[in-house]
């Protein structure tokens, strides 16, 4: 199917992109890879009159280390995250998460910023970003501001980015010593989006007890959330199988689970618990626990 007619803009700076956004407002959509937007346009579920393609804006792509953070340009593709030697050495879980997105064609076009700004409830990155405590850098006419991941996902495909702003960078802290993280998901058999995906990051203290656990859940509800019950269940504990099982049992708490063809509320809630357990188990193992 063909999309409805639209005007295509390819600005060469963030400033120019912001001006276009300010001019066309609701009639405009930012194009950042297009692997969600273009299919919606082809089905005519989305009919923006203006597409502002960020592909030619310099400086929005690339990964660099900035202190204890990895700074990932919004237009960095999933493949770049997946294959980056820097990401693999400093934050392997992020590379692994990217590798689970779609297929190679999707990963070579789709971008980190596109995914996080689109906030598909079944996207993979959101769970990892929550578990890793990422920050989103938005740029507007008045300059830049940083939004913590816990304030980012507002609801179904809604985020904290302003209507007059562009997400330009994602900053992800590198894990401290004695930490481990993992993202595991149950993929939709057709789309490979996450029916349920859980990311867990744990830090152990000198005695092997959990000093910090951070867990994000995606797929099951209308937005990715932090599994606070699981985190609380881990804190201060020796994370053996029984402790993990007990903590993971809280994984569906706070998730507004949506039933569909792939799963009832009961089944998806169960998958949240199963994958929380598996992700925690792997994270603890990687932390040396």
């Amino acid at each position: 199917m063909y999309p409805a007619a639209f005007d295509y803009h390819a600005p060469s700076s963030v400033k120019e992109a912001l001006e276009l956004l300010g001019k066309h407002k609701d009639d405009a959509k930012l194009l950042a890879g297009g692997h969600s937007l273009i299919p919606m346009m082809k089905l005519r579920l989305a009919q923006p009159k203006h597409l502002i393609d960020l592909r030619k804006v310099p400086g929005l792509s690339g990964i660099k280390q900035d202190g204890n953070m990895l700074a990932i340009g919004a237009m960095t593709t999933h493949w770049e995250v997946e294959s980056s030697a820097l990401v693999k050495s400093k934050l392997a879980v992020l590379s692994e998460t990217a590798a689970l997105i779609g297929d190679p064609a999707v990963r070579n076009r789709g971008t980190v910023g596109g995914s996080i700004a689109h906030a598909d409830p079944a996207a993979d990155y959101p769970a990892a970003m929550i578990a890793l405590g990422a920050e989103m850098v938005c740029e507007g006419a008045k300059g830049r501001r940083t939004v913590k991941v816990d304030d980012w996902f507002k609801g179904l495909m809604t985020t904290a980015v302003g209507e007059d702003e562009i997400l330009v960078e994602v900053r992800v802290p590198v894990l401290p010593a004695s930490s481990g993280a993992a993202y595991l998901k149950f993929p939709h058999p057709a789309s490979r989006f996450a029916v349920v995906g859980v990311a867990a990051a744990v830090t152990l203290d000198g005695k092997g007890m959990c000093s910090k656990a951070s867990v994000g859940v995606t797929g099951a509800g209308t937005k990715a959330i932090r599994a606070k019950g699981v985190e609380a269940g881990c804190a201060g504990k020796k994370l053996d199988a029984a402790a993990i099982e007990a903590a993971a049992s809280k994984a569906a708490e706070g998730v507004d689970v949506q039933a569909d063809l792939q799963g009832s509320v009961e089944y998806k809630s169960h998958l949240c618990r199963v994958f929380a357990k598996r992700a925690l188990t792997e994270a603890v193992k990687r932390a040396g626990g």
Partner: protein, 800 residues
């Protein structure tokens, strides 16, 4: 008879000659054909599963820039219903008819009511594809939504919304086969173990890689219409369209099915869009093109399967099968597609004997209409449904009788035979050695070792299972006289014309149609071998009614056995004529001439010979030519098979079920197939591999799901409808046994559908076996998504 097996190219895995064109993007598909002045069609389709059309307002759409014309069903005066080519009626003496087929109308553009989501009600013609689509969005249809029914078992229930005036209770037909009294008696045998199971064979979407497309060009100067169309059988398309729907002269219509990207059956049928574009082209005197979007393909390509069955088996104390009783409801969708009534009857009931000596069988089928896309042949067409019922109920029977599923099968196989085995369901098998394929498969599997491993795994709490499938199918479709007696509106012979050019180059015109099968390779192998010439000298032409003799096309695994035999017959005629010419040149008698290795030679005199090329040249420059022989070297044959061919085999699948998620992982897949002699093993392997993937897809992930309330197709995109993916499949372990058919001279049976037929029950049986320790003895529905399996585990009495 099967003497060619020792020849040079027959049996060799030569690479597909068509592939360089396809893999470098140089194929010519319908959508690649461009004609000056071309217009584009977009169809206005029903968003409702069932709705009366009050009014269609096209005014706003006509004003859209680029829109040329808009037509509704009411504009198409003098156009008839799309025909159904299989007539199940008592007055036609069609066997087994219990209630006559309701021949309900299927207009190219419906004007009274829409009966499924996607039913076309108007067509917008524009100067560009985009303008046509935009215009179609502006057509205002005043709908009166009506209650809809999509669920197979509810379609004919009392109170269900009625689809057609001519089909009370939404019943399309009732049909039966077998011996009811003998079957009833078998089930009353003293001491018999009887098991009854509900078995659902869900609805599938064919998903050919290339969506359907057509381009109609009416030439006002000559009065000729050319239709390029994604068809598996261009002559059938032409005949149905000319004789039944549009009433236009057949000799003035040329149908071309060029490169076609897959069909799986869905491109056999005559569809609304092809008829409408042809009609519009004549009306506007301009070319009209239409190419389906994938979303349109999901809504309008004929779907497959959709059976709900109650199956019962009776076993003697010794494990011998005593009887099989089957009662099936087949959902035909909203209208009768071209061959729809044949699929759940003569392509289904006749295969219920399986590979077993079953003394009594009875099967009843009710075809029903529902507010869904029409259902017709899909890879295997009726035979997968039959195999699924037999192979599932046999395992259920074995479990109930406390017997090993492999032992029970072996005890019941029909013994090796060649020539004829009369089944209890009308058909006569041609040749078979079911035990040999089975034993080879068990040997590859190391069955006893697997059971020991399984026992150990179960002790660790792992859910490991094995499932089998000993399948049979009917290929080489089909003897015309026989299918005629069964209600077919067509003959099912095939044509093959061999044109030898003066230089000895050969062009073959086949009525078969390749849309993935590799005919340009396999048929050329037959020709090169037979004539003793390099394969490079052979060209295979198909898909154009302007050049090929009337042909029936490709489906039902018939190309090699029926189409190939027609070519072989023409080759024999060419050689016979060549012998007469050579005899004249060599001053010998034709009966003393041998032909081999491309040489016509006087028997026993190696020095006295002429090559094939010299004979072909003489045929066209007949200065020194035998009396009474016509110049030229070109022969045409039509081959009508004397029987079906019945390939068979033994498949096994090993799975492990994730107890926590219900996810099924296939660990091993084994297939031993017997398709008779094999022309190109690599191509047959490819067919088996792809077929297994499709069968696995049905078992584990595919399924067209309609919302029970709204009648919307929930799985209408590739984001929702799960096709099998490479990472779901293990490396297949395959082998073949060879039992040539006596039906045709090459001894080939057919290989295109075997994997699809065999794989589905093998996978489902494996999951049942994996869950057996939990007390599970049956799974009713597919696909076995993780959720479905998890729920079964939760509900099982033995679950921890």
């Amino acid at each position: 008879m099967a003497t060619v097996a020792s020849d040079r190219l027959f049996g060799k895995s030569i690479k597909r000659r068509e592939d360089p064109r396809f893999i470098t993007g140089r194929g010519q598909y319908v959508d690649d054909v461009k004609i000056p002045g071309m217009t584009y069609a977009a169809f206005v389709r029903s968003p409702h599963a069932h709705a009366r059309i009050r009014k269609i307002d096209t005014a706003a759409a006509m004003r859209h820039p680029g829109v040329v014309a808009i037509f509704t069903g009411k504009d198409m005066t003098g156009v008839n219903s799309l025909p159904c080519g299989w007539d199940l009626r008592k007055e036609k003496n069609v066997p087994g008819v219990v209630q006559d087929l309701a021949m309900v109308p299927h207009m190219p553009l419906t004007s009274d009511a829409a009966r499924h989501v996607g039913d076309p009600v108007a067509v917008v013609i524009a100067d560009s594809h985009e303008a046509a689509i935009d215009g179609a969005e502006k057509v205002q249809v005043d709908w009166e939504p009506l209650p809809a029914v999509t669920v197979t078992e509810r379609a004919a229930a009392s109170g269900a919304p009625k689809l057609h005036d001519g089909a009370p209770g939404n019943v399309a037909f009732k049909w039966e086969i077998g011996d009811r009294a003998a079957t009833d008696a078998a089930f009353k045998t003293a001491g018999a173990v009887t098991v009854k199971k509900r078995i659902v064979n869900q609805r599938l979407v064919a998903n050919a890689m290339e969506p359907r497309a057509c381009l109609a060009r009416f030439d006002d100067a000559t009065g000729e219409l050319t239709l390029w169309v994604t068809s598996q059988n261009p002559h059938v398309h032409r005949l149905l369209m000319c004789a039944f729907v549009l009433g236009i002269p057949e000799h003035k219509v040329r149908v071309i099915a060029p490169d076609v990207g897959g069909g799986f059956g869905s491109k056999i049928f005559l569809y609304n869009e092809e008829v409408v574009c042809s009609w519009v082209s004549r009306r506007l005197k301009r070319p009209v093109r239409w190419t389906a979007s994938r979303s349109e393909a999901y809504l309008t390509d004929a779907h497959g399967r959709d059976h709900v069955t109650d199956a019962e088996i009776a076993l003697g104390r010794d494990g011998k099968i005593l009887g099989l009783r089957v009662k099936t409801t087949a959902n035909l969708g909203a209208y009768l597609s071209t061959f729809a009534p044949a699929v759940p009857t003569f392509l289904y009931g006749t295969l219920l004997n399986g590979v077993y000596a079953i003394p009594a069988i009875h099967c009843e089928v009710t075809g029903v209409f529902s507010n869904t896309t029409a259902v017709d042949a899909y890879r295997g067409a009726g035979r997968p449904e039959a195999c699924y019922v037999v192979e599932r109920i046999v395992e259920a029977g074995a479990r109930a009788a406390g017997m090993d599923v492999a032992d029970l099968r072996k005890k019941n196989f029909i013994p090796k035979f060649s020539g004829a085995f009369q089944t209890q369901v009308a058909v006569v098998y041609d040749s078979g050695d079911y035990g040999a394929a089975w034993d080879r498969m068990l040997q590859m599997l190391d069955y006893r070792k697997f059971r020991a491993e399984q026992e150990a795994a179960r002790k660790q709490g792992r859910l490991l299972g094995i499932g089998f499938s000993a399948y049979i199918e009917a290929c080489s479709i089909a003897p015309s006289k026989l299918v005629g007696a069964l209600g077919a509106g067509a003959g099912l012979y095939e044509s093959g014309k061999v044109r030898v050019h003066p230089t000895g180059m050969v062009t073959v015109y086949t009525g078969s149609h390749s849309h993935g099968q590799g005919h340009e390779t396999t048929f050329a192998q037959i020709v090169a071998d037979k004539l003793g010439i390099p394969i490079e000298q052979v060209e295979i032409v198909h898909g154009d009614t302007g050049s090929i003799p009337f042909g029936m096309g490709t489906y039902g695994s018939r190309s090699a056995s029926v189409g190939g035999t027609a070519i072989l017959m023409s080759l024999n005629k060419v050689i016979e004529k060549g012998k007469r010419i050579a005899a004249h040149l060599l001053e010998a008698s034709p009966k003393d001439i041998d032909f081999s290795g491309g040489q016509f030679q006087v028997k026993g005199v190696p020095g006295k010979a002429v090559p094939f090329g010299a004979v072909s040249l003489t045929a066209y420059i007949p200065h020194n030519f035998p009396e009474g022989v016509e110049p030229g070297l070109e022969e045409t044959s039509f081959y009508d098979p004397s029987n079906f061919c019945f390939p068979f085999g033994a498949h096994a699948c090993v799975v492990e079920v994730d107890r926590d998620t219900g996810n099924v992982k296939i660990l091993r897949y084994l297939a031993v197939d017997d398709v008779g002699n094999v022309i190109n093993p690599m191509i047959v392997d490819g067919m088996v591999h792809g077929g297994i993937a499709q069968g696995v897809g049905q078992a584990l992930c595919e399924g067209a799901v309609y919302d029970g309330q709204s009648g919307q197709l929930v799985t209408g995109t590739m984001m929702d409808y799960a096709l099998p993916k490479a990472d779901m499949l293990p490396m297949y372990e395959t082998d073949r046994t060879v039992t040539p058919t006596p039906v045709n001279p090459m001894g080939v049976k057919g290989a295109g559908e075997t994997g699809t037929i065999a794989a589905t029950p093998a996978v489902v049986n494996a999951v049942v076996d994996a869950l057996a320790p939990l007390g599970v003895d049956h799974i009713e529905e597919m696909p076995m998504t993780a959720q479905r399996v998890w729920k079964i585990i939760q509900g099982a009495k033995g679950a921890r």
